[in-house]
């Protein structure tokens, strides 16, 4: 098999995931796009491992490790998203702008407001 086939497919999948991470607004859809990017990397690892015929099969071992780390990442990421949803009532990454740096709004009276609202939401949740 020509090596360009898996390599090009991996590059295209990675860029699809890149578009999803940048363009999606829901945090869970962003996590799905991250999964696509990780899978593109896995395809590259497997293809180059089979091509090089590595005696230690480092590519396939690293692919298994990447899959396990991706599973850990999706668990932690989803629990963070759920906590944000419980505190703020939204999982919309465009609305989580507490640490935004804007020159015109007065920073010291914007930040405590958001913190107080978050604490109130946490207390009522």
């Amino acid at each position: 098999m020509h090596l360009a086939y898996p390599a090009v497919l991996a590059a295209l999948l990675f860029c699809t995931g890149l578009y999803g991470v940048l363009a999606r607004r829901n945090a869970i859809l962003v996590l799905m796009s991250v999964e696509l990017m990780l899978n593109a990397v896995n395809l590259n690892l497997v293809a180059f491992d089979v091509w090089l015929r590595d005696a230690l099969h480092a590519g396939q071992a690293l692919t298994l490790f990447t899959i396990a780390i991706a599973a850990a990442e999706i668990g932690i990421g989803l629990s963070i998203v759920l906590m944000v949803y419980r505190n703020r009532g939204t999982s919309d990454v465009d609305r989580l702008r507490d640490t935004v740096e804007s020159a015109e709004t007065a920073e010291p009276d914007g930040a405590p407001d958001a913190t107080a609202a978050a604490q109130k939401a946490e207390a009522t949740a």
Binding site: V8, L22, A23, E35, V46, I67, I74, M83, D94
Partner: protein
């Protein structure tokens, strides 16, 4: 490994494995595109199943058999189910949601197309004359088990510790914070969802801290 001069290999005479790889690759790429562009959130998760399953078939075609079944088990079996549960718990709307894409999607499209063009150009230019020899399977379960438990045992064990830490962290993060502890510093030592039942018993204990 320069085998390009060998006669039976060429772009114009693809083997059966190459044709299968190409077809499954087109399906996988299309499913990935639908995953990142559809406006229905649950459909995105279901198209992700198609994309990940297609990748499992690609692993099989690359003779990495064990990786393919791990892909099916972990990704299609558990990660997508976790994502669906996440969508359910955040009350994602069923049906079309008009605000699934953010306002900077054209900038994102530009970046993605530029990155795809650059990567594909570099990859094709670099590996134009390289061929994968698939006559000996490289990733059977026997081979993978041997290398994993002969050469990669320490990373494997470290990874199990990492998975345990991630699970404990996920449980700690997703516990509900106690209602009476809004001003306290130790929000990590709460009682979970059944705090209302034994709130009276737990309060003196927290006052001591």
């Amino acid at each position: 490994m320069i085998l390009a001069a060998a006669a039976p290999q060429g772009f114009l005479s693809p083997t059966g494995v190459e044709v299968a790889f190409l077809l499954v690759g087109v399906v996988t790429f299309a499913a990935a595109i639908v995953t990142v562009t559809t406006k229905q959130l649950v459909h995105a998760a279901l198209w992700l199943v198609v994309a990940l399953g297609g990748l499992a078939v690609e692993y099989l075609l690359l003779t990495a058999e064990f990786i393919a079944w791990v892909q099916v088990l972990i990704y299609v079996g558990s990660v997508v189910v976790l994502l669906l549960f996440g969508l359910m718990l955040t009350k994602a709307p069923i049906g079309r949601s008009p605000d699934a894409d953010s306002g900077n999607r054209w900038a994102a499209l530009t970046v993605a197309v530029a990155a795809a063009a650059a990567l594909v150009w570099v990859v094709v230019d670099a590996f134009r004359a390289q061929w994968i020899d698939l006559d000996v399977p490289q990733g059977t379960t026997e081979v993978t088990g041997a290398i994993l438990f002969r050469h990669w045992v320490l990373p494997f064990e470290a990874l199990s510790v990492l998975l345990l830490a991630a699970l404990v962290g996920a449980i700690v993060l997703s516990r509900k914070a106690d209602a009476g502890e809004g001003t306290g510093a130790g929000t990590g030592t709460d009682q979970g969802t059944d705090a209302g039942a034994d709130a009276g018993a737990a309060t003196p204990d927290k006052e001591q801290r």
